[in-house]
């Protein structure tokens, strides 16, 4: 993403100028209002926090990033919210910085490459985002999932399979309805940056998707299990964590045996959900304490198996590697996670409009 200087400073300065400069201490200042995807934190971890500190946790779940952002921007009083890294730049004006120094586990547990996160190609943007990330929580990439019965047990590790095998999979290809990830996938296939701000490249990606459209059965939801189970999704875009969850918790063992998955060599299209504290939070102290609780190794060890994604902390990576040892195609390493070019950044300014227009062309 190319961040015009004035725009970047606007987003950054509006956040820092109007945010409370005082960082909340890590101490109980009320009950905790969580706003997150359903089932994102194991109940045992939440109950443990309630018992340890004598607070009540109220959970609210959102159905989409935009729904979450709209409520956070409207000042609804949530204390702890998860925000995807490609939405974080948009959300910064509504967030307050997190007191990392008050957290006993932050310095030791968070991977060095995530003290300042790798989310944006522009290091200045990452510096701007860093103070707002309480816990970098659920990182995953996009790969290709297929049904062996129709596509064979081995496919080349490239997004080109959607185009090269389109005749074989005609009518049974599913891509995401989320415009940013699907256009990014097509950009990667064409050899361009997944965050391209070049209108010609974005339009070429749209043209490639339009070429593929007669072969696609759906621009569908991000959850891949239903189309694998119904037998309709022969060749699909899929999140790494979602495929783990599908193989281990949704599909029957015989069904799971018939599913193939791999990441593509062009790009991992990484995205990460981050725990943040909204400016409207009435209990930022409890939220800070809760983030420290999440980072504690014994608690964090329970998180990746519950939601399927890697957490870029020492205990998080360890737990993830343990749980995916039978699924080598899901393994990640720190070098991959630190590689900024693998991360999908926020769409902003004129670039946002270019991507929106391209997607309208694809879907019309």
């Amino acid at each position: 993403m190319l961040l015009p200087a004035c725009g970047g400073s606007t987003a950054g300065s509006s956040a820092t100028s109007s945010a409370s400069p005082t960082l909340a201490p890590a101490e109980v200042d009320g009950d905790l209002n969580l706003y997150m995807w359903q089932g994102y934190v194991p109940d045992t971890v939440l109950k443990g926090f309630e018992n340890e500190y004598g607070v009540k946790i109220n959970q609210t779940f959102f159905g989409s990033e935009t729904e979450m952002l709209a409520k956070v921007a409207a000042g609804v009083e949530y204390d702890a919210v998860v925000i995807a890294s490609n939405y974080l730049t948009r959300a910064v004006p509504y967030l307050r910085p997190v007191n990392h120094d008050a957290m006993t586990n932050w310095a030791d547990q968070v991977l060095p490459g995530f003290k300042v996160p790798p989310y944006d190609p522009d290091p200045k943007v990452n510096e701007m985002l860093a103070p707002y990330v309480g816990v970098p929580y659920a990182a995953g990439g996009i790969g290709v999932a297929w049904l062996n019965e129709h596509m064979g047990t081995s496919l080349p590790d490239t997004f080109s399979v959607f185009w090269d095998l389109k005749d074989k999979a005609k009518g049974h290809i599913t891509l995401f309805s989320d415009q940013q990830f699907t256009i990014a996938m097509a950009l990667a296939k064409l050899g361009y940056s997944i965050n391209s701000s070049n209108p010609d490249e974005v339009n070429a990606a749209a043209d490639a998707l339009i070429e593929l459209k007669p072969y696609i059965s759906a621009f569908g939801p991000a959850a891949v299990a239903p189309v694998l189970q119904s037998g309709d999704g022969w060749l699909n875009m899929a999140w790494s964590g979602d495929i783990y969850y599908s193989l281990t918790s949704i599909l029957k063992p015989a069904e799971a045996q018939g599913v193939g998955f791999q990441m593509a060599r062009e790009s991992l299209i990484y995205n990460n959900d981050n725990w943040v504290i909204p400016k409207s939070s009435a209990h930022p102290g409890t939220a800070t304490l809760y983030y420290d609780w999440l980072l504690a190794p014994e608690n964090m060890a329970q998180c990746p198996p519950a939601m399927g994604y890697v957490v870029p902390t020492k205990a998080g990576v360890e737990a993830y590697n343990e749980m995916t040892k039978d699924y080598p195609f899901l393994a990640v390493n720190a070098e991959q996670l630190y590689d900024t070019s693998q991360w999908i950044a926020a769409l902003t300014g004129d670039n946002l409009k270019v991507w929106q227009d391209a997607w309208v062309r694809v879907t019309a």
Binding site: P4, G7, T10, A11, S64, E65, T66, E67, A73, T89, R90, G171, H172, S177, D178, Q179, Q180, K213, P214, I216, S217, A218, F219, G220, P221, P226, Q229, S230, G231, D232, A346, L347, T348, G349, L352, K353, W355, Q356, W359, V360, R361, V362, T363, A364
Partner: protein, 288 residues
């Protein structure tokens, strides 16, 4: 005292008026204001006065989506009428003491959440679903490539399934109000059954038919979830275009402009239907 009495009845409408203002007029006013907004650097709406969103909405690239939406909605309304009217008629005229129970039975699917019903159709129409397996077992799918899900018929089926009960209820009420004496009079005048049906029954139940068809048409026109789950990229409708603007990384002001235009179409259809219904049946047609 008379002045107080004078204020009593309008006063009673106060809570309803407040309710309507807060939950209906105010949100629509916000959507209207948003439709003239632009977006800032990070995609947030900035309230201003510009017609760019409407200009975009009238670009030819949206024509296929709009045409498809109108055709799907018209087809769904027509199918619902062909299935729903006879059903309502038979239930009312031949249902005897069970007719109210039968009408409730028609509404039973609505006791289940809309999304769950759509997911049920995914299971039924899917590649490993009941119908495809049955057809395969009968040897009618030798190449194993029969595809029902993510097709136009699947979308039409889903929409008809969802909105048919509405049309049945509206026609049922109209048929219930039909004076049997009129049909007898038609027969007494030596009208053949078909002539009596077309010349007496239909015109006297237009107060149910017209709003029923219009409501089904409008709901199908704005639907997005059915297409999202049962359709594919070739079935994309205007509701999906709007939904894309509100979720995903779309433009809220553009979504608002599309919503306003869709509401305008809805209003026009309602006015035409009310006018046509009144003209044809001589009765007032309402949509409540």
């Amino acid at each position: 005292v008379s002045r107080r009495k004078h204020l009593l009845w309008p006063g009673l409408a106060g809570p309803a008026l407040l309710w309507l203002t807060l939950l209906y007029v105010a949100p629509i006013a916000l959507v209207l204001a948003m439709s003239f907004a632009s977006t800032d650097f990070i995609g947030r709406p900035v309230y201003t006065w510009q017609l760019g969103n409407y200009h975009t909405a009238f670009q030819p690239q949206f024509l296929p989506t709009i045409t498809r939406s109108l055709m799907f909605a018209a087809l769904v309304a027509a199918i619902c009428l062909v299935i729903g009217y006879p059903t309502a008629y038979v239930m009312s005229k031949y249902g005897g003491r069970y007719r109210n129970l039968l009408m409730l039975a028609a509404l039973v699917p609505w006791l289940v959440d809309y999304l769950i019903r759509i997911y049920a159709w995914i299971q039924i129409l899917g590649g490993n679903g009941l119908i495809v397996r049955l057809i395969g077992a009968l040897g009618l799918n030798p190449h194993g490539d029969l595809k029902l899900l993510n097709t136009s018929p699947a979308v039409i089926l889903g929409l008809v399934y969802n909105y048919l009960p509405l049309l049945i209820v509206m026609c049922f009420v109209a048929v219930e109000q039909l004076d049997d004496g009129l049909i007898e009079a038609g027969k007494d005048l030596y009208g053949r059954p078909l002539a009596v049906f077309l010349g007496v029954t239909i015109p006297n139940t237009l107060s149910g038919i017209v709003p029923g068809v219009a409501v089904v048409f409008l709901l199908a026109l704005g639907d997005w979830a059915t297409v999202f789950f049962l359709g594919g990229p070739q079935q994309f409708m205007i509701g999906n275009l709007i939904q894309n603007q509100y979720t995903s990384a779309g433009s809220l002001p553009f979504g608002a402009a599309l919503t306003v235009l869709l509401l305008a179409v809805v209003m026009i259809v309602i006015v035409i239907a009310a006018f046509a219904g009144r003209r044809l049946s001589g009765r007032r047609v309402t949509f409540v």
